[in-house]
Symmetry: C2
Subunit: 122 residues, 2 copies
DNA sequence: AATGTTCTTCTACACATCGTAGAACATGTG
DNA sequence: CACATGTTCTACGATGTGTAGAAGAACATT
């Protein structure tokens, strides 16, 4: 199960919210001005590169290797990734119906409404 | 996020599938004859106790401290725990609606059916 | 081609978690 | 009290993560 550390998470968040692929330097700068992590963290570029390599090994990130400063991008959208994780969690339990029942109970009314709409037809 | 190791998982599985609270020795024996873990693992009782302590610290397990061989039991059902995990994952994404859309795309027809039933009314 | 600049990979270390268990301590029984 | 049985403390190796310097590769400029 691909569980992310804090910094890995931060990097993924940036890659997910930024439309274009980013270089390690751009990422370092973005982390420095991070509105998310309260404290502006001044990381070395190599740190960011190490994290990116690890994320690449986990299959969450790819890079354009030809363009000189390599440009990194996420392989899947945050939504796809999150949904996939949810599914991975779901299938760890033998009685999925029961799990879903509890799960439904935990979502907000708005979300329940969304689900109804999505499941609508058939 | 409470992510479990392999042995921790095995122990939780046993606690979840056994109706009564169990002692460390009972757990050790159950693990030895584990039909799940293919290989019969002969663990020391202290190993099991350590794992139980850690699970207790994580809030997944309690024990009756008065009865002499302490009896351990899970705090929540596997279904509750799994549903809670799913919810924790869900809320990591800003656009939950989009996540849910992907998610229901990934569940089986039977599960979708269940969800419809559960959401039915209102 | 030689040199400097920029980027990437290798190597490394500290810290946390987990599997594993012995040593030491506690408790109840004969 | 001595013994058996159970629990806590301490510990060590393996792996994952945050962190970054050192070394190597590639490009631009003279």
């Amino acid at each position: 199960m691909a569980t992310l550390g804090d910094l890995e998470r931060t990097v993924m968040d940036l890659l997910w919210t930024t439309p274009e692929a980013m270089t390690a330097n751009e990422l370092r700068d973005a982390i420095a001005e991070a509105p998310s992590g309260e404290v502006g963290r001044e990381l070395a570029v190599t740190t960011v590169l190490t994290v990116l390599s690890r994320l690449e090994k986990k299959g969450l990130v790819t890079r354009e290797r030809d363009s000189r400063p390599h440009r990194y991008m996420s392989v899947t959208s945050r939504e796809d990734h999150t949904a996939e994780l949810m599914h991975e969690v779901l299938v760890t339990a033998p009685d999925r119906e029961a799990v879903l029942a509890r799960f439904i109970g935990s979502v907000s009314d708005a979300e329940a409404q969304t689900l109804r709409k999505l499941l609508g037809g058939s």
